[in-house]
Structures are given as structure tokens and as C-alpha cells.
């Protein structure tokens, strides 16, 4: 418990979390501080490229692990299965309609790549190694949750709009293409490639992450300020409970797979996080009648801050304890 509290305190006072807190506070206080849309996108492109590249270099260094395929498969299973658990919880804990519950559930099966990036940064600061291919697992976990949510709707006789364009947008959305593309570039070029661009993708990484989380704080604070009325107590409680359930499943599977401490922690983070980029866009197309105020505010305004501040140190500490590090 001391270790968890110590890691949580260190994490809470890190520049990354304090930048996020500044964004939330500025937004709630109605400051005119804002990050232009183009700048926010540029920061996200940088982070995705850097994290993908470094993951690829790690795989190039350590070779392909036999666990890679199994971990990818487990990631897909978790992504497809978590929405079903989330949907059941939502039906018990909240009065959400089937449509809204399915839309929310999809977010909790998919992943938040920003939470993943922040977790890798915490692991790096703590000197805990992780499997480089967890980047590929993150990419694999984006889409299956969407299919599960649509299955939940069609099972209840509801209508959903799934077309080939949406398939393309889900599977080839910019985040996935960049993350996986940078992963392969890092894998192909290895340490030599990293040396060539390390002054760009290694040294400035945390500073850029701070600015990006400042922006995420502004967006999250704005969502909470404007849409918090959409969330009832049961829905809010779900936003905290579901990450704990997801991370527990992630820990169990991570241990079964024999992942390293960092790998278990990252699988916990991926299972605990909720999407707010790919899934909301897919839900707007496939389930336009679902209320975006509920799933966007819950994912970005409740679960994301929980994971960023308390969740990540908790998951890292639990992973360390479970793997005996």
C-alpha cells in the first residue's frame, strides 16, 4: 500500500499530471486559454509517431517474442469482451437506454492512446521495462469493441448504420495508421534509426506530452463544464468502476501470458482506458441517435482523468506487486 501511495504521489506531482490539472482548472475557471485545433493535432501526431517508433525499435532490439501473437489475440478478446461486461453493468447501475448503454460500452472496450502514452512515460520514469509490441496491441484493441457494441444493438432488434466507408474509417483511422506505421519504421530501422532522430523523438517527448495534456485538460474541463448534467450518479460511478474491472482483467491476462511488469501494467492501462477519438466518431456514424454528451463526457471527463491521476500509479504498483518486482 505504501508503494502505491508513494507512486501515486510522485505521479500526481509530475509535470504531465500538473499540466493536465492546469488545463482542467483553466477551463473550469472560464479562462480564454486554448490550444488551436491544428496545434493539438500536430502534438498528437508527434506523440503517436514517437511512441510507435520507440515500440518498433524495442522489438528490433529484443526480437519477435513468441508471446507477441498471443498478446495481440488477448488484446482483441479483451476489446471485444469488455463492452459486454460494460453493457451489463450499465443496465444494472444506470437507467441508460439500450442504445446509449451500447454506445458507452464500446468506448470502454476500446482504448485511449493518450492514457497509454502517459503510462509508458510513467514506466520509463520509474525504470520499468515493457514489451515494445504493446504499441501493436494498443492498435489491435481499437476496433473490436465497436463491433461488440453494434452486435449488442442488433441483438436487441435495434438499427445501426454500418457501411464499408465506416469499416475503412475504423480500421484505417489516422491514429492507427500513424502508430502502426511508425512502429514498423522503428522496427525496420532499429537502434540506428533511433540514433538519427533521437534528438527529435526522445528528448522533447515529455515536454510535448505536457502541452498535449494541457490541451486534453482544457477539452475535458470544457466537457465537464458544459455537459456534466448529462451524467447521473450511477453513470459517474460506472466511469470509475469500469476501469478498475477492466484493469483487473488486464492484469489477469497479462500474468497468464507471462508479460513483464511493464507489459502487465500496460495491458491493465489498455483494458482500463476508454476511447475518445476513434469510437466516438464511429458511434456518431453507426448509432447517430445515441447521446454523445453521455459517452464523450464519461470517457474524457471522468475515466480519462481517473486513469491519468490515480489509475496509472495504481496499475503500475499492482503490476509490480503481482510480478514480484
Amino acid at each position: 500500500m505504501d508503494q502505491i501511495l508513494s507512486l501515486a504521489a510522485t505521479n500526481l506531482l509530475s509535470p504531465i499530471i500538473l499540466s493536465f490539472a492546469l488545463g482542467v482548472a483553466a477551463s473550469l475557471a472560464r479562462s480564454d486559454l486554448s490550444v488551436p485545433e491544428a496545434a493539438a493535432k500536430a502534438l498528437s501526431i508527434y506523440l503517436l509517431f514517437a511512441i510507435g517508433f520507440k515500440g518498433g525499435v524495442s522489438v528490433a532490439d529484443h526480437g519477435i517474442d513468441a508471446k507477441l501473437g498471443m498478446t495481440l489475440l488477448v488484446g482483441i478478446i479483451l476489446s471485444a469482451g469488455l463492452p459486454i461486461i460494460a453493457f451489463g453493468l450499465l443496465k444494472v447501475m444506470t437507467g441508460l437506454s439500450r442504445l446509449d448503454a451500447a454506445a458507452v460500452a464500446a468506448h470502454y472496450g476500446s482504448i485511449s492512446i493518450v492514457t497509454f502514452v502517459a503510462a509508458t512515460s510513467v514506466l520509463q520514469s520509474s525504470g520499468i521495462a515493457s514489451e515494445g509490441y504493446m504499441v501493436a496491441v494498443a492498435a489491435a484493441m481499437e476496433a473490436p469493441a465497436i463491433l461488440s457494441a453494434l452486435w449488442l444493438i442488433s441483438r436487441g432488434g435495434g438499427a445501426q448504420r454500418m457501411d464499408s466507408d465506416l469499416w475503412r474509417e475504423i480500421l484505417l483511422n489516422g491514429s492507427i495508421v500513424l502508430l502502426v506505421g511508425a512502429f514498423f519504421i522503428g522496427w525496420i530501422t532499429g537502434e540506428e534509426g533511433l540514433r538519427e532522430i533521437s534528438s527529435f523523438i526522445v528528448a522533447p517527448f515529455k515536454g510535448v506530452l505536457c502541452l498535449f495534456l494541457l490541451d486534453m485538460g482544457l477539452v475535458a474541463g470544457r466537457g465537464l463544464r458544459g455537459r456534466s448534467g448529462a451524467l447521473r450518479p450511477g453513470v459517474l460511478a460506472f466511469g470509475i468502476l469500469m476501469p478498475v474491472i477492466g484493469s483487473s482483467l488486464g492484469a489477469a491476462f497479462g500474468l497468464l501470458l507471462g508479460l513483464s511488469t511493464g507489459g502487465v501494467a500496460l495491458l491493465m492501462v489498455l483494458s482500463a482506458s476508454a476511447s475518445y477519438i476513434a469510437v466516438p466518431a464511429a458511434m456518431r456514424v453507426a448509432l447517430p441517435e445515441a447521446n454523445p454528451s453521455i459517452y464523450l463526457t464519461l470517457s474524457l471527463g471522468v475515466t480519462f482523468p481517473f486513469n491519468l491521476t490515480l489509475g496509472i500509479p495504481l496499475y503500475v504498483a499492482v503490476a509490480s506487486a503481482l510480478t514480484g518486482v
Partner: protein
């Protein structure tokens, strides 16, 4: 200068639906349109601003078409097949254009 009557249709729609809308318009023979960014707004679904957003789920765009009055119904049918269940606004204004052959 001689001017000609036309209809200006402004469709404010979720950014994620933009390509579906413009594809539907093209299929209906409407090949001329302009897509404008929308910075923010407020409506039945709440307030929103574009700044800082990295996803497309909460953004809006405006598609503007200027057409001959006799083509209005075809355009609206094509547009409504896409936008009927989505957040947005469709408005139609009378306007005058100088070069009628272009519309």
C-alpha cells in the same frame, strides 16, 4: 449587370458525415459545393468549440451549394438521406448569381 435567381443551400453537419454528404450530392448530380470549417456553436446537443479537439466526433463543417431552383428537390432528397438522423441544420436561401451557366 444581368443576374439570375438561384438557391443557396447551407448544410451544417457533423464533420464525420462530410464525405458521405458530398458523395451523396455528387451522385445526385450536384458537383459544385464548398466546404467551410465551423469554429463552434450551440444547439440542442449543447455547446461546442473546435479549438483543441483532436478527434472528428465533436466537430462540425458547413457544406454550401448554390444551384438552379429546379434542382433543389433532388439536392434536398440526397442530403436528407445522409443527414436526417444527425446533428445539424439545413437552410435554404434565395440568392442571385451572375453566371447562370455555372449552376
Amino acid at each position: 449587370m444581368k443576374t439570375h435567381q438561384a438557391k443557396r443551400v447551407e448544410i451544417t453537419i457533423e464533420a464525420i458525415m462530410q464525405s458521405r454528404l458530398t458523395d451523396a450530392l455528387r451522385k445526385a448530380g450536384v458537383t459544385g459545393y464548398t466546404v467551410l470549417p465551423v469554429l463552434g456553436g450551440s444547439g440542442r446537443s449543447g455547446d461546442w468549440v473546435r479549438s483543441g479537439e483532436i478527434g472528428r466526433a465533436s466537430g462540425m463543417v458547413q457544406v454550401v451549394c448554390i444551384i438552379r431552383p429546379d434542382r433543389l428537390d433532388g439536392l434536398l432528397e440526397a442530403a436528407f438521406s445522409v443527414v436526417d438522423k444527425h446533428i445539424g441544420v439545413v437552410s435554404i436561401l434565395d440568392c442571385d448569381v451572375v453566371r447562370a451557366e455555372r449552376f
